[in-house]
Amino acid sequence: MNRIAQGIVLVLLGAAALSCTLASDLYLNYVQAAFRPFLAAAGVLLVALGVIAIAVDLRAAGPAAADAAEEPDHSGHGADSHGHGHRAPGVAWLLLLPVVAVFVVSPPALGAYTAAGAATAPPRDSAAALDDLDEDWGDPSEPREMELQEFVMRAWTDQERTLAGRTVRLTGFVVPNPEGEGWYLARLQMACCAADAIVNRVLITDQPEPPKDSWWQVDGTWVEPEGDIQDIRDHRFSVAEMAEVENPPDPYE
């Protein structure tokens, strides 16, 4: 890869990072919201580096230096000669793949396909991280918004079962249940990027199944299971009201 190509690849890569952070919210499909300033800064740095590389290369190709700069490269791929003619290995062309992924494919956030196969293990050790529900709950009949992640964790770990009888509002997307009755309302939880997404879900059996991957806001209550709360495979949710929502801006929790 010659030097001007390197410069242009850097600019394109930086442009991809900038366009999905500053020009749109596309980055939320892939990484945590907190990544935005870092991605944007990296994009600016890449664009600047690429523009300078292009400018330096073109100046070197000015009238006096034109012949010298156009030196033939006798190296194959990989090895690069020293000094100004130095070239990047062929593998650097792969840097265009993320550019294509962002500009051409612009893949959507992970959804039902991933949720159906992803790890569903609840964080059973995290009971201590929960606050007491009774504080600032207000009127128990008023639905309270709760992340699916929090709901599932409480359902699995709160031995006091304080969740019972409270009306909760959950937001998530529909995942079909291949092995039986009902369907799942699910939400993917992301620690850092979409590669580490894990799914939190509740089983809903008292409502007809909406289309897969559609987003819903459901008000209802936890179906208190008999027996040990930790032995339940999927906690059930009894729906009082449900309404379809536009995709939330940040698809992950």
Partner: protein, 370 residues
């Protein structure tokens, strides 16, 4: 993105002797994009790519103009037609890994270029003990200070070696920095709120493995295995030129391999069903090896892997520890990056050595503490 080429465009026209024999002579880049439709049969790369025929610089600019136009057309044409779920999930994960690693790579490369350009070589010789056996633990502990993930530590280790630091010490730093830096330890504490012993076990096992690998490399390693990272700049160049050139050089070398790693990790992430993994969770030794293998294959950033390990709660503490200790030191993304920076002869020896030691330390520390 379409705004970037104009600067070279005016520069182009100021170069007089490029037009002879050029297929594109007087047109500007703007025309290129506008006139894209009649150039649709252009191949990427074209058959004469790499051959020194005529003014290649102009050809390169044209090629990229065609590429950008092709992306525009591809986006318009493909966006409604790409509906295959598995492909889209794969593309999302690939994009996610690439974008997530990008800031770390860029800033790691910037830091390593700054070390190369602005920190005099004599400083390293003063700070780090001359004898490799003494330098290795110092480098390991130094890794605990610098936040950053795998992608950043490889170029930094390369520049340390260039600055005359013993390779064994630089490699210990490479292993320790992503595994035990403060950000990673805090993330681990958050992911395992009731189990502070997990943080301690991770610190002890990772540091131990990194230091022992360093000592073994100092004792048995040969310099020929490690492709010497070249000083790729003119001796007389200004510091800023050195900084810029080494940053560009490292980005081009490490970046391409990072993409290779992201491709592999995304493929495995989509292809390996979690059910298979859960099925082995109850087997004592096998479960540890399976989670270690999973850490290698998934290539999750070390700042995030604790959350994934915590989610694999069917597994024993030792197996989760192996996931946390092996992952930051050996994974597909990292192997590809190391191959790009140090060469395959190095990877062939270093990676198995690291893998064995990380496993040994995971079993030992997991058995003692968890």
């Amino acid at each position: 993105m379409r705004a970037d080429p104009p600067p070279n465009d005016d520069k182009d026209s100021s170069v007089p002797d490029r037009s002879a024999g050029s297929p594109v002579r007087s047109s500007s880049l703007g025309d290129t994009i506008a006139g894209w439709s009649d150039r649709e049969d252009e191949h990427l790369p074209p058959p004469d790519w790499g051959r020194p025929t005529g003014p290649r610089r102009t050809a390169t600019v044209w090629l990229f103009a065609a590429f950008i136009a092709l992306m525009g057309a591809g986006h318009a044409w493909l966006s409604d037609r790409l509906t295959h779920e598995a492909f889209l999930a794969w593309a999302t994960i690939f994009t996610a890994i690439s974008l997530q690693a990008m800031p770390f790579l860029v800033f790691g490369v910037a830091l390593s270029a700054a070390l190369t350009a602005f920190v005099p070589a004599s400083l390293w010789r003063r700070v780090i003990p001359r004898h490799p056996a003494a330098a290795v633990p110092v480098a390991g502990v130094a890794g605990a200070v610098l936040p950053g993930c795998e992608c950043a530590s490889v170029p930094i280790a390369g520049s340390l070696i260039r600055r005359g630091v013993a390779p064994a010490a630089a490699l210990t730093f490479l292993l320790a920095a992503p595994a035990i830096n403060p950000v990673v330890l805090v993330a681990t504490a958050v992911a395992f709120p009731n189990r502070p012993e997990m943080v301690v076990a991770r610190l002890v096992a990772s540091l131990g493995a990194a230091v022992v690998v360093g000592w073994l490399w100092a004792r048995f390693g040969r310099s020929g295995w490690l492709r010497p990272p070249r000083a790729h700049h003119d001796p007389g160049a200004s510091r800023w030129t050195v900084f810029r050139e080494s940053m560009q050089h490292d980005l081009m070398h490490a970046g391409g391999f990072l993409v290779v790693g992201a491709l592999a990790a995304a493929t495995l992430n989509v292809m390996v069903p979690r059910d298979w993994i859960a099925a082995v969770a109850d087997m004592p030794v096998v479960s540890v090896l399976v989670l270690a293998a999973l850490a290698v294959l998934l290539s999750i950033c070390s700042e995030a892997d604790a959350f994934v390990a915590a989610s694999l709660s069917e597994f024993s503490g030792t197996a989760q520890l192996a996931f946390l200790v092996v992952g930051p030191m050996v994974d597909l993304k990292l192997i590809a990056l190391q191959a790009g920076t140090f060469g395959w002869a190095f990877v062939r020896r270093f990676v198995p050595l690291t893998l064995v030691l990380t496993l040994l330390f995971s079993f030992a520390v997991g058995g003692l503490l968890l």
